[in-house]
């Protein structure tokens, strides 16, 4: 503490300047009835060395995925983030700034975010992107409330949206919390047994305010039918597509097949998983949504000398101006993490993004070949295309399989029973650019042993 407070020991001098004699004088306006008596029941202050030692001890007891062979993804993915990103992000001018309320001294961050908007816009194929929302789930939720604001007047199914039934419950819960205040009715969009969207169910959504789907979807399926959706639901119903951004190195940009809003977890571009945060939510949209969209946005402008300059714009949508009529309550967002994303995207370039996507998909394809060869396991969506993860149907409980794999040092994936109660035997296995072929062999070998232990003869 002593190294953080420059005026420790100078209190008397400063108080005297003000004609005060004790620190208590500064709190003369705080009534006795509400005063804390004595010290807070907390430990004594620690030095930097003690803190870092304890951090190493406590965090060292966590199992970092890098210590294991890991196939856990399910929405967050362990991509390699280049060293330059981590070095640059610690520059104090970036790290210790805040919302660029004074554009003249914030041009660096403003320009970087305008570039981020461009990078995201190009990535997803839509003209407008904001500076980030909190995460993929709040981006999805805000996209849904946004599409209702835009479309409900003309909609035949007022205040109604259709959300993919595969949406993970945790994400769904965020969506429900954000939607309940506006009394938005959420219907389920059905899927076929192969994991693709049931187009007849999509027909029901025509005339509603919006449809929310994910590509690849939560069970890893790349849905070749999504390009048909916009025509089915029509111009007055928003098509909202959530993406894993790295997949867009290979997979068509949703803007090219009619998506009106694209959202997603930005994390695989620029950020380690970090226990699920801070990461950043992507939000991009087409023109009709611009004035009712959430979040901050940077515009390119000029200064009084006509020189190129950047500033926040369209702020009249936001809470500090519009208060309870704002399009969202968001104020502090995830800009610094979005900046890491921008740096990663810059280094990749278009071909690098493609290569990265290929590496993810190649690992997944190899995984599919190796794991589907195991007798007794079955790929329920084998006929579909996958980008980086797929479902394995096991001859026993996925939770038990995961425990077994954990015992041999493998983080085997995600137990889909936690999302889909009817599927106790579904394991979601994920692959990234970090997955090696010998790791896939190792998983296959151990799965074979576990499957055999289930007494299965296929």
């Amino acid at each position: 503490m002593v190294d953080q407070l420059p005026n420790l020991g100078r209190e008397a001098e400063m108080l005297a300047t003000m004609g005060m004699s004790s620190m208590d004088d500064l709190f003369s306006d705080v009534p006795d009835e509400v005063r804390i008596q004595g010290l807070l029941p907390l430990p004594d202050p620690q030095s930097e060395e003690e803190i870092i030692a304890d951090a190493r001890r406590l965090l060292g007891s966590n199992v970092a995925l890098g210590q294991r062979v890991s196939f856990l993804g399910a929405g967050l993915y362990r991509n390699y983030v280049p060293a330059a990103v981590f070095q640059l992000i610690t520059r104090g001018e970036f790290l210790t700034s805040y919302t660029p309320y004074q554009p003249e001294v914030s041009q660096g961050m403003l320009q970087a975010m305008w570039e981020f908007q461009t990078l995201i816009s190009e990535l997803v194929g839509l003209p407008i992107a904001n500076l980030s929302l909190y995460d993929g789930s709040t981006a999805a939720a805000e996209a849904i409330t946004c599409c209702v604001r835009v479309h409900t007047r003309k909609a035949t199914q007022k205040d109604t949206v259709y959300v993919s039934e595969l949406t993970p419950p945790d994400r769904m819960s965020v969506i429900e919390n954000y939607c309940q205040g506006a009394e938005i009715k959420i219907n389920m969009l059905r899927h076929n047994p192969d994991g693709t969207v049931m187009l007849s169910s999509a027909q029901d959504a025509a005339g509603s305010c919006g449809v929310y789907v994910e590509q690849p979807n939560p069970i890893g399926v790349l849905d070749g039918g999504l390009p048909l959706l916009k025509e089915i639901i029509g111009q007055n119903t928003a098509l909202i597509v959530a993406v894993q951004p790295v997949s867009l190195g290979l997979v068509e940009a949703p803007g090219a097949y009619g998506a009106d809003i694209v959202v997603g977890e930005g994390q695989p571009l620029g950020s380690p998983i970090t226990g699920g945060g801070p990461i950043y939510g992507i939000f991009a949209c087409s023109k009709p949504y611009l004035r009712l969209m959430p979040g901050r946005i940077v515009g390119r402008s000029i200064d009084v000398d006509g020189k190129e300059a950047y500033c926040l714009t369209l702020s009249t949508r936001e809470q500090h101006i519009r208060r309870h009529r704002a399009t969202s309550n968001i104020c502090t967002n995830e800009t610094l993490i979005a900046l890491m994303g921008a740096m990663h995207m810059s280094l990749l370039g278009p071909e690098g993004l493609r290569d990265l996507a290929v590496r993810n998909m190649a690992a997944c394809t190899l995984g599919k070949q190796k794991l589907s060869a195991i007798k007794g396991v079955h790929l329920p969506h084998a006929s579909s295309h996958h980008f980086q993860e797929f479902v394995l149907e096991l001859p026993g409980k996925a939770s038990e399989c995961l425990s077994y794999l954990d015992g041999v040092g493998i983080v085997g994936g995600f137990d889909l029973h936690r999302w889909y109660p009817a599927q106790p035997n579904w394991l979601l296995v994920s692959f990234t650019d970090q997955t090696k072929s010998n790791e896939i062999e190792l998983l296959a070998a151990h799965l074979e042993v576990w499957v055999a232990s289930q007494g299965v003869t296929a």
Partner: protein
């Protein structure tokens, strides 16, 4: 100028990557899904990229660059060890879906943070899930909404906010579906109890208020306000953005509040470069605890062979509150921010009170010397206090109304003049109740010399003539930016040549 999209060089391969485990030719995609046009991203080598972002950083002002007295934002120094800790693999490389026995260290830190915040706030249960102050507000108001629904008090449809409240307060309550009732503040900026009495009734669900308020004044009538709201059956919500003034001195619990959020990125120094990330945990009294978003962390003694994974011989587990509103962020909040704030708190421990005392000392000292230096320079009459008070808390407001009336110099002009002196400008035009408002928050990490020099420089800016100030700033990377032009000629991304 350095423009990212001017770079078309490098090899066109991006940074070099290992070969895929299978050749690209073996991958198959449905024809409808093959990407047809690659994103028109730049092609830039690492040296060029590093130089570009370094150049950008030099055009940006942070706490590390200089004094950053941005009121309501608590721009204090960010201790560097926290950044080192947040990059350890035990936090950077962990997944929220890993089993509990993989995450005992993380969970124990969560538990310690929940406890520490409960103690500081005088609340019974904290959740760390909300990822910003505004999301904390939303979460707490949602919990209260479900609490009333369960009690069958559906008629409580209104949320009261003072007109001095931060914009997120009404925005968050409106997102929950509440009707907003705004009440005026008194001329001294404090809450108007009569106005509160006039609107509080059986339709009141929540009153949202911050204390010290957004003018930096302690609401001495707070107990009276809480009892007015409680008497009609409503709940009191504490906007904790101004916690930096009160740690260890008073608490929302003692003031009678039912729920509170923290802005950890302010009070506990999570760096939020450019506007985020944040962390906005909330604390509630026992009657609201069952409604919190889950999971939260509980601890119990270890059993069986748990010792091999345990830290400190306790077991830390996720727990779902019975009537939980569900989730507000898909994962476990901003874990990386929680870790940094934990490292920050450990530095102070039970000395957090000293931290708040110094925040208040610095604010009052600056308030004093600012007026003194302005007087000495003969420009004391250009500024007046935003609200009359003997002491301020961690921040204070001044009004430039006299300067505006007499010389046509606005708060914005002074702000721009301060940029020329090498400072970040204070918050301007907030709170809305103070005309030509400047809200100044020095924080505890600024030295007396910095405050003295700032006061002298501020007085210098007050002496500058209107014409010169209207033209300020002149020393910054760009001069006054035309925000109207930006809004009229929307250019929200790089215009490619064919567009």
């Amino acid at each position: 100028m350095s423009h990212l999209f001017d770079h078309h060089g490098a090899s066109g391969k991006g940074y070099s990557q290992p070969a895929p485990v299978l050749p690209a030719s073996e991958l198959s995609l449905p024809d409808t899904l093959v990407r047809k046009q690659a994103p028109r991203w730049p092609r830039i080598s690492e040296p060029e990229m590093v130089r570009h972002y370094t150049w950008l950083s030099k055009r940006n002002f942070g706490i590390d660059t200089g004094f950053y007295p941005l009121g309501s934002c608590t721009m204090k120094h960010n201790p560097r060890v926290n950044e080192v800790i947040a990059q350890l693999p035990g936090i950077a490389d962990i997944h929220p879906h890993q089993p509990e026995h993989h995450l005992q260290g993380l969970l124990s830190i969560y538990h310690e943070m929940q406890y520490m915040l409960e103690v500081c706030a005088g609340m019974d249960q904290v959740t760390l899930q909300p990822v910003a102050g505004a999301q904390g507000e939303f979460t707490a108001v949602r919990c209260i909404q479900e609490y009333f629904r369960l009690r069958g008090e559906d008629q409580r449809t209104k949320v009261i906010v003072p007109d001095s409240a931060h914009g997120t307060n009404p925005a968050s309550a409106a997102m929950c579906g509440f009707e907003i009732v705004e009440i005026p503040s008194r001329v001294d900026g404090r809450i108007d109890l009569d106005a509160l009495r006039a609107v509080a009734d059986e339709t009141t669900a929540v009153m949202m208020i911050t204390n010290p308020n957004t003018l930096g004044l302690f609401e001495a009538d707070i107990l009276e306000a809480t009892s007015i709201v409680h008497d009609v059956g409503g709940q009191m919500y504490y906007d904790g953005a101004n916690f930096n003034a009160i740690l260890g001195i008073t608490s929302p619990g003692l003031m009678g509040f039912d729920a509170v959020h923290f802005n950890l990125h302010k009070t506990f120094s999570q760096p939020h470069g450019g506007g985020g990330p944040g962390s906005g945990p909330i604390g509630v009294k026992a009657h609201l605890a069952d409604f919190l978003p889950g999971p939260i962390v509980k601890k119990r003694p270890i059993v069986g062979d748990e010792a091999k994974h345990a830290v400190d011989d306790m077991w830390f587990g996720w727990y779902q509150p019975t009537h939980s509103i569900g989730k507000v962020q898909q994962w476990h909040g901003n874990a990386g921010a929680i870790i940094r704030c934990w490292a920050y708190y450990r530095r102070y421990g039970n000395g957090l009170k000293t931290m708040s005392e110094h925040a208040v000392l610095n604010a009052n000292y600056l308030r004093h010397v600012l007026h003194r230096e302005a007087e000495a320079a003969g420009v004391g009459d250009m500024i007046v206090d935003g609200a009359e008070t003997k002491v301020a808390k961690h921040e204070f407001t001044i009004s430039l109304e006299p300067a505006k009336e007499r010389h046509g110099i606005s708060a914005m002009d002074i702000a721009k003049g301060l940029l020329d002196m090498g400072y970040m400008a204070p918050t301007v035009y907030f709170p809305l109740v103070v005309p030509e408002c400047m809200m100044i928050e020095p924080t505890e990490t600024e030295s007396k010399e910095t405050l003295d020099t700032f006061a002298i420089d501020f007085a210098k800016v007050l002496q500058v003539d209107a014409e010169t100030l209207h033209a300020a700033p002149i020393t910054t990377p760009v001069r006054r930016v035309d925000e109207v032009y930006a809004a009229r000629n929307l250019c929200l991304r790089h215009p490619y040549d064919d567009e």
